[in-house]
Amino acid sequence: MKELWSIFNKGLILENPIFVLALSLCPALAVTSSVIVSLTMGLTVMFVITANNTVVSIVRNLVNPKVRVPVYIVSIATIVTVAQLVLQAYLPDLYKALGIYLALVVVFAIILARAEVFASKNGVIRSFFDGLGMGTGFLIAMLIIGAIREIIGSGTFLGIQVMPASYNAPLMLVLPAGAFILIGYLVAGCKMLVQHIEKSKA
């Protein structure tokens, strides 16, 4: 149990997909201009990465290592298609807002990386928790970026006005350039946090 918790735990801060591993920066720049879009993207990726880790872990001993990457891709693509169809059916507005990035989840580096690095070498339950942890870390990172960009860049949070009406928002935070600078500082902040955690452990 304790081991599962540590597998889950490492995705949150110590090996956070965006802030520490720096994988999947593309969605972190492109689909974080508002909290609701970040949330949808985060949940989708969390679902895909967890399901894919489980599938890859189940088939890991059946697949010839030479063709493992195509097999991973087929598995990811299937799961993404499921997520895409569900979103299209139940949340058409968010489906439109995510646009091409939803289909691009197939090629997000973090999903393939977890399949290759973890799920292909570990049992089903461990892989499931690894996916869940990484997915949660991704979701948290997306939410932090999305919240800061929406509050400063548009003066709203989840569409509700939080800044005074006279607030003249800098457009830069809405544009990918501002997201890039912001992520840089969040990475630095996360690095400080990681160092602090490692120091207190030692």
Binding site: N168, P170, L171, M172, L173, L175, A177, G178, I181, G184, Y185
Partner: protein
């Protein structure tokens, strides 16, 4: 000239192979000289644009110095606000802004210039991009409307909104531009003296050139940089004129917009341009070329800021390309 953090600490003993050349130059001396070179243009701007320009310049300088102080306190570094570099960044940024910009926008630009473009990259001497221009570019993306609203005070109470010469050229054409000023010689005179609309510090060509000449005389900047940059703009705008080859108004383009201040004060920033003379000439040539490209073909009326920032990107490449021959080495 070796400008690095070590030379700040004057009492540091440096041991290096002979021969030794001693110099009385230091970062504070150079930075305050550049500030001094800007004073005539600052005074002119304060007289011509009035109170709004004074406020914008004050806010720019104060917030730049305050940001530098705070960042250095937080990072537990030596506080170097007295060396004049933060003052210079704030002042240069304010001089690139429209006079009536709301104060919080100026402060935001100064903050970004110092905190993001300078201190985050390691402080003075380590920044890749010209901090003042980063501040301006960030303001340009953040509040595009406010950054292109040019108001001019005719009397202390009257404010009229009007376009800059480059805006008129871009939107209404050359004929309208001449009409605004009366005739061409009148226009050149107004542009040279600075009796025209524009950013706070970019209007008076003659005072900026005077400041630049002072810096060249002191040896802080090389004369090739402004000459090549302004010359490139002049030749190219003359060649690629509006009605066929060799019909452009080179004098207008050389005097318009932020070219003079950019060529003398931004494209000569010791930190962000190549080290060698040859490299600096390549830098100035590229900056002039990009300026013309943006002015004549791009969406923005003015391109000095972006062209210098783009050339800042390739500075390390230029430096590598024009490595000077080692003393005594054979090719």
């Amino acid at each position: 000239m070796a400008v690095n953090e070590e030379s700040l600490k004057m009492n540091l003993l440096t041991v290096s192979p002979s021969p030794h050349i001693t110099s009385s130059e230091s970062i504070p001396k150079i930075m305050w000289s550049v500030n001094a070179a800007l004073v005539p243009a600052v005074i002119f701007a304060a007289w011509y644009f009035g109170m709004p320009a004074i406020i914008t310049m004050l806010v720019g300088v104060v917030s730049a110095v305050a940001t530098e102080y705070l960042v250095q306190i937080i990072r537990k570094k030596e506080v170097t606000i007295k060396d004049g570099s933060a003052v210079l960044t704030g002042l240069l940024l304010a001089m690139c802004l429209p006079p009536n910009l709301p104060w919080y926008m100026t402060a935001f630009g100064s903050f970004l210039a110092i905190a993001v473009a300078k201190q985050s990259l390691g402080g003075l001497g380590y920044n890749i991009f010209n901090p003042a221009h980063i501040g301006r570019a960030a303001l340009m993306v953040s509040w595009p409307v406010a950054m292109t609203t040019w108001t001019k005070m005719t009397t202390p109470v009257d404010v009229v909104s009007s376009a800059t010469p480059l805006n008129i050229l871009k939107q209404q054409g050359y004929a309208k531009l001449i009409e605004t000023f009366g005739d061409a010689p009148n226009m050149y005179k107004a542009m040279f003296l600075g009796m025209r609309n524009g950013s706070i510090g970019e209007t008076s060509a003659v005072l900026l050139i005077l400041g630049g000449l002072f810096l060249i005389y002191k040896g802080y900047i090389k004369w090739e940089v402004p000459v090549v940059m302004i010359g490139t703009v002049g030749i190219l705008t003359w060649v690629f004129g509006p009605s066929g080859l060799f019909t452009g108004d080179a004098v207008f383009h050389m005097l318009a917009g932020g070219l003079i201040i950019g060529a003398f004060f931004m494209a000569t920033d010791m930190v962000t341009i190549p080290i060698t003379r040859k490299g600096q000439i390549i830098f100035a040539l590229g900056a002039g070329l990009l300026t013309v490209l943006i002015r004549l073909k791009g969406g923005y009326p003015e391109g000095v800021c972006y062209s210098i920032l783009l050339m800042n990107c390739v500075t390390p490449l230029i430096d590598r390309f024009v490595t000077p021959k080692k003393f005594g080495a054979r090719r």
